[in-house]
Amino acid sequence: MRIAPDKVMGLEEAVSRFVPDGAHLALGGFTCNRNPMAAVYEIIRRRRKNLHIYAHSNGQGVDELVGAGCVARIEIAYAGTGRFAPTCIRFRKAIEEGRIAFEDYSNYQMTLRFLAGAMGVPFLPTRSGLGTDILARWGFSEEVRAADPRLPKKKLVVCENPFGDWAETDRVVLVPAIRPDVTLLHVQKAAPDGTCRIAGLAFADMEQARAAHHVVVTCEELVGPEALRDEPERNQIPGVVVDAVVPVPYGAYPTACYRYYDYDPVFLNDYRTAATDERRWAEYLERWVYAMPDHAARIAAVKERLSAIQADPRTGYATGLKR
């Protein structure tokens, strides 16, 4: 959080200030939609290490960070991008080869963990997971937890209902709060003070932003200071919780940004091919990330594809897109 009328800065500055090595990081968006990809690529270009990632169903962003070796630990519910990669490929390899530590939750559990952080409470209750290995199996041992003040002492706790059988519930699972150092979001519109207006589904962006100590927002359009104040009920994120506002057109590419552009099926299919093979993967990173001075250069390199993914004003996506 930061209170200032103008938080506009470049992506280099925002990543340099708010995403150091070892940062605990949450990513907005969902699978192949509104991932903060420009910020992800900037993090990879800066060769950040030892990141601790909190994710619900993050697809593309998580996979590229893991694949580039930026991630030491991840708490996650789902790593996939739908049909393009039912399981994220670099994520899968990293786990099968023992290169990252990880712990599994469900999507609702992760959402509630962000919500608990946003609410400033240590936990929230749910019935999700009773009887499952999500409860029984921990990714981080009791010893690792005891040694690290950034990890809760327990993964999940089952609690008998202290109100008897109120709400016909015998017991609930308590999920511990997450308080990321920084949450990265990509939104359609933002004002200089950080006020954000998200079109379409907000996923868990609201909870992820409010849970974090710092929030970096990339946006398709930077609007004037007053432009979003005429209908404040349409703004999901108030300016006060945001630290940096970075205008980045196509900042979610190759994932979708509702009402602006669709995911790029050509790129995502090429990505799958690249991710499957070590040599091709190294080439991908070199060509598409390290060699690019910034996101604008990356977008310029695919500019012939952009017309195909422009959003139809009626549907908000690229109607009839060859997928």
């Binding site: 619900h56 739908g82 049909r83 099968e96 509702y258």
Partner: protein, 254 residues
């Protein structure tokens, strides 16, 4: 009329959806089944996604539950917190039918979509629960999609991601779970159901051209086949709507 097994799977699941139900959709074939149900048998069913879209119109088939196509024409589009609350809340949750898939299933309909082998150093890692554990925990009944392979119908799942009937009988109630539980497993060979007492899987119907023996040969555990019949093949109308309205590009039908 010719049809593929994938088409029959889709229709076998869609036939189980009742009008006026809320249908929770995952990615892939479960999306097809929900759309087919709405277009063929259950016009007043309401399709919801864990991403927060309620009563989506789905003019084009989404390739993921985060696909912008799930937002089209919805009654509301909020986020995950709201969508899962709707399913955990018994007032709405007990009208929800969840459609889920997985990598492994056991005789009680418990699902694994996390890992094969040791959890911490698996032979094969999958995507993880996503919303599957949540839906399987909350909603009134679930319909499960599986490929019918011996390595997938196992005595014990390597990791129990999403609760089915747990250890059978009143296992769900003992664990503190609401909802009725898994109702059917739709595979590329058969429709399986669960005994109302023991909660053990049994064969409800095999696909035309197949046999109970073929089904059993593709499972690590044996199931009761005494109640089984041959499934009705797809009607011309079912196939027409599926092919022309639901997935004309054959993005999921293949």
């Amino acid at each position: 009329m010719e049809y593929t097994r994938r088409e029959l799977m889709t229709l076998a699941a869609a036939r189980k959806i009742r009008d006026g139900e809320i249908v929770f959709c995952g990615t892939g074939i479960s999306m097809l089944a929900a759309m087919a149900a709405k277009h063929i048998y259950a016009p007043n069913s309401v399709i919801i996604f864990e991403t927060g879209a309620v009563d989506s119109r789905l003019e084009e088939i989404p390739l993921a539950v985060g696909d912008p196509r799930v937002m089209y024409g919805a009654s509301s589009c909020t986020g995950l917190a709201d969508a899962f609350a709707l399913m955990q809340n018994p007032t709405t949750g007990c009208h929800v039918v969840g459609i889920l898939g997985a990598a492994q299933i056991d005789r009680y309909g418990n699902l694994n979509s996390t890992a094969i082998g040791e959890y911490l150093r698996p032979k094969v890692r999958f995507s993880g629960s996503g919303g599957a554990c949540d839906v399987a925990s909350f909603v009134d009944r679930t319909i499960l999609f599986m490929q019918h392979e011996r390595r997938k119908f196992v005595n014990r799942v390597d990791y129990l991601t999403s609760p089915g009937w747990l250890d059978g009988k009143d296992g769900r109630r003992r664990a503190g779970l609401p909802g009725v539980g898994p109702e059917a497993v739709i595979t590329d060979l058969a429709v399986m159901a669960f005994d109302p007492e023991s909660r053990e899987m049994f064969l409800e119907a095999w696909y035309p051209g197949g046999s109970p023996q073929e089904v059993l040969a593709h499972m690590e555990f044996a199931v009761d086949v005494s109640r089984a019949r041959e499934l009705e093949p797809p009607s011309a109308r079912e196939l027409k709507i599926l092919r022309e309205v639901v997935d004309p590009q054959r993005l999921i039908l293949g």
